[in-house]
Symmetry: D3
Subunit: 309 residues, 6 copies
């Protein structure tokens, strides 16, 4: 494919489809982590009533998945904090030995970020929603930075949001959030309408590696792409460099045709230190899940070389 760059799509794509879960209309935009020598995931399953719910899944190799046919149920001591029937676009991160889940937890007042923790991928304890609505995408960093927890997120509106910027906020307790900093915004081209964080950032000697989504508005609606950035290790709201070229664009039939045509939406990244490679999981056309892989050093070199000047 001429417009593959540093990432190579897996030959077995798509790896998860509606066929993996009874009653599924589509499965896409999902979270995956390495876990206990295998893989665990939280999947966005749109059912045939078009409610969006989160389901856990497990896999030996990250490609062949067993997804729980029942939606994930949170426990919470506070009834004011609830999980919505429109829960979508989960991300996972391992932080201080616990896995944290962020997702878009629709509220009557607009899309809102949900936050939960789990130690076993069976019991999820829902915590306070970090931000006011509307907000559509958020990921935690895998460690505290300067003693505070840190999150990247994208404030939103209540509709099909024609704007989007990446923000950074920090917290002493995972409950109260502040010191909001603008990280970066749209840039002309494939990321000209909105940008938002993808998977949780990966710490590298060159900075935090962030894979993000960019959106372009054609005369027929929105197209979604994947890009990459390096953020300062200690002040991650400072951008070291960021791609001017995309990393992935909707090109394959399973990315072009589906419930929402022309979408690649990166939502998880797994690092293999043993081989120096990374694998990115991404939603395709709001219909299925695929993956693509790159050598980490080549990826960082590509981002630095194809940066916005």
């Amino acid at each position: 494919m001429a417009n593959e760059t540093v990432f190579k799509r897996l030959d077995c794509n798509p790896i998860v489809t509606a066929a993996n879960v009874p009653r599924a209309n589509s499965i896409h935009n999902s979270a995956v982590v390495r876990w206990n020598g295998a893989y665990a995931g939280v999947f966005r399953v749109d059912e045939i009533d078009m409610c969006y719910r989160l389901h856990t899944g497990f896999s030996r190799d990250g490609l062949d998945w067993e997804i729980d046919p029942e939606p994930l149920r949170m426990t919470s001591s506070d009834p004011a904090v609830y999980v919505s029937d429109h829960s979508y676009d989960p991300r996972l991160v391992l932080l201080e030995g616990t896995h944290y889940l962020t997702w878009c937890n629709s509220a009557p007042q607009g899309p809102q970020i949900g936050l939960a923790r789990t130690d076993d991928f069976r019991t999820f304890v829902q915590m306070e929603n970090p931000f006011q609505p509307p907000n559509r995408n958020a990921v935690l960093f895998p460690r505290t930075i300067n003693g505070a927890y840190a999150m990247l997120h994208r404030p939103s509106d209540r509709g099909h949001t024609p704007f989007g910027d990446v923000f950074y906020s920090s917290s002493p307790d995972l409950i109260h959030w502040g010191k909001h900093r603008h990280v970066f915004g749209p840039y002309p081209g494939w990321q000209g309408t909105k940008v938002g964080p993808g998977p949780s950032p990966l710490e590298t000697p060159e900075g935090w590696l962030l894979i993000y989504h960019g959106v372009w508005g054609s005369c027929n609606g929105f197209l979604y792409y994947a890009g990459g950035a390096l953020l300062d290790l200690e002040e991650p709201w400072k951008v070291i460099c960021r791609t001017r070229d995309y990393l992935l664009a909707p090109t394959m039939p399973y990315e072009r045709v589906g419930d929402v045509p022309n979408v690649v939406f990166p939502s998880a990244m797994v690092h293999y230190p043993e081989t120096g490679r990374v694998r990115v999981y991404y939603g395709c056309a709001d219909t299925c899940v695929s993956a693509a892989e790159a050598d980490l050093d080549e990826l960082i070199a590509f981002i630095k070389q194809h940066r916005i000047q």
Copy 2:
């Protein structure tokens, strides 16, 4: 297909395409009835000038169709009642021994419902338009109810109508209409933006069976689905139950790719009492016609089981 439910698509889909009529751009959203031991139909043919006209068609088995290359011409004694060059989305029903055709008969003041009768599928007599514009979908019931003719319809606006509810109206004479009742409206999910009647309702011991279309607005426009409802036999504006899950969703390539991507639009239903089955004809991607079949008892059971609570 994971998201097939109680309906099974025919293997020979699509059964009618632009190739069936010279000068056709596309043929979709069409009406079919059993007639004289075979089948008759009225087809929406979008020609290569993108005028939409109605054509009659005949078939031995309902799958292999001879469609008249010339548009259907109405007779009418009143010049104020005309058939537009933008006539589309026909429905047929047998009522008191005569076949009645309803369709969307575009007027300069907006889409409007047309009404005509035929005894032989050669001569069609156009009658008064039942409603003020704008209105986009209407079907007659196959018998009078409490001594009055009865119709389901969807009021509209002049553009791409971001709303839609099903209404019921009755008439003593098929000319004057009144006693307008709201039947049901959108419901969050695949039917969250608009709903409208599909084929003429089928009388069953459990109530009138209505197959209807539901519309969801993504960030890239509208997707069309099929759902089902049971309406009270004597007061059909009262909903007994209605699907929360869809019956059909755009999934197959011929439903996903075409002039308007991601559309299934049910427009005719044939009942086979001899086998207990029903066949639904539906437009695909505003481009071709397909069909799907179900066992009537299973269909009713599905609707009752997967109902909105």
Copy 3:
């Protein structure tokens, strides 16, 4: 005033304001008839909770009004026919010895026309709603035409409706309506965006005299004007002539400044055969009620002379 035409505003304008009713935010767009040697009316009262309700009023001279502080309550044998908390823009007409009230009776599915009859302006019996929603303005003719009841109305959408045409429909029984005819639509200038019927038409030897509203969309929203037309006596959907010049434009401070700036909205017309004059009542800036008078012969001559060619 340079832009007065054949109508002269009363010196005592505005004649009804919010001060006439406790709890009123504004009183405008109201119906008036001569009754028992005096005057009766139905007034649109927007209360301080911004619900719109109808109130009866009585006056010796049509200028000094006693308005009932309690809203009008309808009687109806059918619970499916209800009067909404957003009832507005009433019109009255005497037909076969009974007074009929039409108004905009908002339903959850959009604005809808309500119809009621009264013999004493104390008891109002609500009848079937004549049309499906959305429809925003309707007036009955004061007699049957060719044996049928007749109504002018303006179909609408659910929002701030950027279009509007006058339609004619007829009925054998005031319940079922049909034979819908387009009467006229917008015309470039002050009536370039929408037109709708004002008071019930007045029969004259020259045709039915219709005072109507026209709407122009500036870069700051809509302006409302009054125009006039003569319709064929036996086929009122045929326009004999219609003003190219407006009859009234928002000019006075009470027409320019108020809850909706720059509105004159004609809603009632009283004919004085004894003097050959007519008085038109009109809403001002969605805030108060005023009146203007003309000699009927001069008015008809003006409409014929200043017609759209």
Copy 4:
């Protein structure tokens, strides 16, 4: 005035106009508190370049004001926290002996809430912005609640925001904010499009008294009104009651005519325990400042009596 309710406008309205400050285009939506036996304020001054800046002002009686011709300058140790050239709609509250200022501090990513403290109305120390953008209105409570600082605010979008709900958030340190709770949203009528907090709530035995703004969308844009609510003393996100009728509507010429017609925007409330009265300051038509007064007991009784059921 028929549509005055429990509030009486001052005869000397408007009390502050553009004439109070050289280079002012308009002065409106401003904050006032009692201070040192007199009054201090922070005023929104739109200058003749249509930049919006905050200016301090002082007054002996709260009616006759000396406003500093120079904009207020903040001190801040962190360059990431800046005061914008589009700073507007300030509120003030005395909390633990210090005065805190909140206002809308426009950022390139949308309107954002600013927070500062002052002990002398000369030096203002700007603190962290409490929330991510976009957010348009915020007020602090005058004391901690359950040991945490508390704020009411209205999330927003980047344009002319067609929605608005009141939210409650709390903080251990005035830096980090969390436990976001929905308080109330729009309600049909004058508050049908958006609602947002006005002055800082006043503690009363009946609950926290909140004066808020409500917005209605006519066909010519937005109209702004004032309403009132009582919130639970210990769990202020629980609404005890809230007005169905408005407290103030744009009625006077200085409220109807100006840069944005038909606006009353309450932004400050002064309590006089010595007389049992309150005075509300409000912006008029985005052009000047007025005030209205009520007896506190009567005001609370009005809110309870005219509540949404």
Copy 5:
């Protein structure tokens, strides 16, 4: 008035209203020049059919005007060049001994610039339209620049144009136009949505003095202001300086209330070398014409001092 700057409004404002012409709805946005020791003008007259036509007018003192009740009729040898029934916003300039008229000459394809010449204000010879539609405002310079005719103009769209920039184009023959240069665009504040040329530029030792209009979009539509700029004498597409503060804002009742509220629209400037003063004529609220005067040196000093940095 606090927000008067260097311009002083005339006490006799408004100087032309609808009362000056029979059948006028409003007279505004008009052109005036000194002529034969007195004044001549071309006025935009919106008639009571809301057609916009141009009328000539004459005055001894520029304040008391005789306006021809008949619209100006052009002569033209080419039927392809016509004057529309929606002709508006004229400007005049004396160039090489002839007066040239530019105006907005609506075509079915959008607003378009018209061009005509006159030697006596009785016969106007219409020339080729200089530009493709849509374009809404244009003025000629009073002399050739580097041997070419020169024009400032504002390209537009077909609706209420939410954008606007000033462009410069030149011509060898007043028929063919080229070398299009961008001069300046919107700037945050009162000129944040669009800017367009007002009267023909005045040559001064400091550069070409251009009075222009700026537009701000509030939540209730557009407000129009007047600003000033100095352009390079030989390369007028180069801006020497331009006001950050406005020169005139809608403040007076006749500027705030009318067919389009809150508009001042400068369209003519007369220089009095004998006193060193200039008088600007401007349309008010799309309803009437007013004037304001300044000392030329003070005006230039103001523009230089209050410039955008």
Copy 6:
């Protein structure tokens, strides 16, 4: 394919894809001419940063192309005339022995027409931009008409332009343009929203043959089609006839699926006098380039026969 008309698509379609150029996201909407016994072209290459740039290409047979991996660089003596990073939709024409290139040369003030000349397809000299922005499509005629250069073009707006008409303008010097004439506009059906010129017109005894694009707005955005017209040889703004039926519609998978679904966009036409045939190159789904061929006499006969009456 039922909806092929007189044009036959090449079996080798698509003939140019992203694979032809490193870093290409897509290659479409491109210009081709016969040159030196072979073919030369200028291609629109959207790179993986989604900048649109022009690249030259050469081919022996017009099907197998060598495209320069480096973008075309213009020379120009005037810095005010620049080639944008968003240069797209080129057309080529041979005029007086030189090849002229027109294209859409985006400027900050909107899309704008660029003009350049080349004698060797290596050096391109950029000339003055012919028109003010916004304008999106333009082609030169291959000879002067009545002594003047002539161009067809489509004025536009800055967004996704919901309108479009073909205009004709002429020039004495290729710098200054005037005598703007409306040629034709949209017509209900596939060309109901906008029309614009495709390749440079071909002179035939029957008139100038123009292949143009037409656009239809469905509920899911825009679809692009190809039509044909014959224009008067000496007064080309006069339409002799024009297709009511389209010549090409998006039907093939490579026309239906891509960055912008459902697009055929004709941009070049090569005439083969030796065989009497023409080949049209067209962009497909904003993703690749295809070609279709017809017999010239049959094509002209088709246009005459399937004309708008």
